[in-house]
């Protein structure tokens, strides 16, 4: 495919704005940009075709089965998008006086009310822009809490080794120290290791439940109690909420603070990698530490307030407004029954697929799961030389997106499969057939796998070259020199 710069021809101008209708004032020469500005120059019909070509070479949920474990690739409802582009919401300047934005502020308070009930928390902030940002915000709040309560020595956060990479990275960003504890054979917290790890310097525990292996940790109440007894707080990574939304609440499991991935559990679009929304919920004890711009209803009007011990701002303005507006639309549509039906169906889907695959693939975490499951291709690799990567590349040739590869790190040659509730039985049966066929082919013709995919847009890429000699932009100078 040609780059848009390679399609450009000098001289096009798309008449988007009217000519200047006031006297022109000239910028002083010494302040002017001297460097030439190279941006595309194309007529609208060609811009349209260029992006159609790019869209055709992009695989979205609308294209096919997308069981990316840990990402909850559920259908993105169109009514959500319509509400987000509704001018009454889209044209509002963030610095308008509060009495002119009561509608937008109500989006905050209504979504908060719904999410509070779903998660068992006492307050929700929408400022964090994504899950990792929500983790960072939560950790800052935990640290501030301990400092306020005269316990600044509490600077250790306990993280299971099966955790998503953002967990320890977020801890590092706050200046705290990660204490890794091993998981047991089911990816669950090793209780004895946890007991040994807590102490006077424990700030808290970061946990996902169900965990990254798709297993619900039965000992959850004991785990959170151990941390509380040691004076720490419990943080819930909400990436896997789609397993239990409406069925169980993190607030009832002993968690004090959580983050949600609205772009996972609550159907807002993934957008090719963002924008997400990492709303953070907390119990009353942490409310005073929430970020600034927390909307509160005072009498008839809603206004922004700054919590008394606020950690400040984690970004500009108030959050990814159009994103959580979509989440609100979704929750209103689904309602109390729809919310729990969604998660139950997600768990059923995952168990169904696991059941139909467990006879041939290794299942390190048992024969039942929550909303996602992990299979290991380690034995397959040892027998045939075909790896998880090879199988994933093989799946690409069947017009499906592969599962997540090599996560969690605790399982060798892992593939993590998550078929959300919006996947039909037909789609899952097709995928099961493909995975089974690839397994057979791996035994019959392993060599072929190293060439897969054969029918995708490109063959496998040279990642080493991309990393050794990074080219991250088009070089206009090259075209001029020739």
């Amino acid at each position: 495919m040609k780059l848009i710069f390679e399609r450009s021809v000098e001289g096009y101008y798309n008449e988007m704005i009217s000519p200047c209708d006031v006297p022109t004032t000239a910028l002083p020469e010494e302040m002017k940009r001297q460097k030439e500005l190279h941006l595309p120059s194309l007529p609208q019909p060609e811009i349209s075709r260029h992006y159609t070509e790019l869209a055709d070479a992009t695989f979205g949920i609308n294209n096919g089965f997308y069981p990316l474990g840990s990402c909850t690739m559920k259908y993105n409802p169109k009514i959500n998008d319509e509400m987000a582009t509704y001018p009454a919401f889209a044209s509002i300047h963030p610095l308008q006086p509060e009495h002119t934005v009561q509608g937008s502020l109500e989006v905050f308070t209504m979504t908060e009310m719904l999410l509070k009930e779903i998660t068992g928390m006492n307050a929700i902030t929408f400022q964090p822009a994504a899950g990792a940002h929500g983790e960072f915000t939560s950790l800052l709040m935990i640290k501030a809490y301990h400092k306020k309560h005269g316990q600044p020595q509490r600077n250790k956060i306990i993280v299971p080794d099966s955790a998503h990479g953002t967990n320890p990275a977020s801890v590092a960003m706050t200046g705290m120290i990660t204490v890794n504890i091993p998981s047991d054979n089911y990816g669950c917290v090793d209780i004895e290791a946890l007991r040994a790890a807590v102490g006077e310097d424990t700030a808290g525990l970061m946990l996902t439940n169900p965990n990254t292996a798709g297993i619900f940790d039965k000992n959850i109440l004991e785990i959170t109690k151990i941390v509380h007894d040691a004076g720490g707080l419990n943080y819930y990574d909400g990436a896997n909420l789609n397993a239990i939304m409406g069925v169980a609440r993190p607030g009832d499991m002993g968690f004090d603070i959580i983050h949600l991935n609205l772009h996972k559990t609550f159907s807002t679009p993934h957008g090719g990698g963002g924008p997400g929304s990492g709303a953070v919920g907390c119990k009353s004890l942490l409310k005073p530490f929430l970020p600034d711009y927390y909307p509160v209803k005072k009498g008839a009007e809603i206004g922004f307030t700054r919590p008394v011990n606020s950690i400040g701002l984690v970004k500009g303005f108030y959050g990814q407004f159009s994103v959580f507006l979509r989440a609100l639309t979704y929750i209103l549509f689904l309602g109390s029954e729809g919310i729990s039906s969604a998660s139950k169906s997600a768990v059923l889907n995952a168990n169904y697929m696991l059941h139909e695959l467990k006879d041939i693939f290794e299942v390190p975490y048992g024969e039942s799961c929550m909303h996602e499951f992990v299979i290991s291709l380690d034995k397959l690799k040892k027998e045939t030389g075909v790896t998880a990567l090879d199988i994933a590349k093989g799946i690409l040739d069947h017009h499906m997106y592969p599962p997540t590869m090599y996560f969690p790190l605790t399982v060798p040659e892992a593939l993590m499969v998550e078929p959300p509730e919006t996947e039909s039985k037909e789609r899952m049966d097709d995928a099961i057939a493909v995975y089974r066929k690839l397994y057979e082919d791996a035994h019959k013709n392993p060599e072929a796998f190293h060439e897969y995919p054969l029918h995708a847009q490109i063959h496998r890429v040279d990642e080493v070259r991309a990393a050794r000699h990074p080219i991250v932009r088009y070089d206009f100078a090259l075209e001029n020199n020739e």
């Binding site: 090599y406 990642e463 080493v464 050794r468």
Partner: protein, 127 residues
């Protein structure tokens, strides 16, 4: 081959070459094989201190980052700048590609001879 014979090895897979006061440190062939194609290396600056048993450099391959550990406590006097532009040299010629040169040696870890190291690696493979 005399070059390989003079090198000593650490259990964390670095080689050490003593040349009077100066000491050069690099990565063993086993190490580069385990790391895969190296895409980037982050070396310390001249004048920095390195400490026995602690990491002194980050080595990036496409999908992972590993650390090189110093078997010696000393001060860096030279850094192999060629590796910053061509990290692939570590893969193609590991025993010639020194990472850092140090002086003022304070402590040294117990090092293995080439023979002992070879055996150590074989045992690690079997485990």
């Amino acid at each position: 081959m005399t070059k390989a014979m003079e090198l000593k090895f650490s259990k964390s897979h670095e080689w050490v070459l003593f040349d009077g006061d100066k000491v050069k440190i690099g990565l063993s062939d086993y190490a580069q094989d385990q790391l895969g194609d190296i895409v980037f290396i982050d070396l310390p600056d001249e004048g920095d201190d390195v400490t026995k048993g602690e990491s002194f450099a980050d080595i990036e391959s496409v999908k992972a980052v590993s650390e090189a550990y110093s078997p010696i406590t000393a001060t860096v006097t030279a850094v192999n700048e060629e590796l910053l532009d061509s990290p692939e040299l570590i893969n193609s010629a590991p025993l010639e590609s020194w990472l850092i040169e140090v002086e003022g040696v304070d402590e040294i870890e117990d090092l293995l001879s080439a023979e002992e190291y070879k055996k150590f690696c074989e045992e690690a493979e079997e485990a």
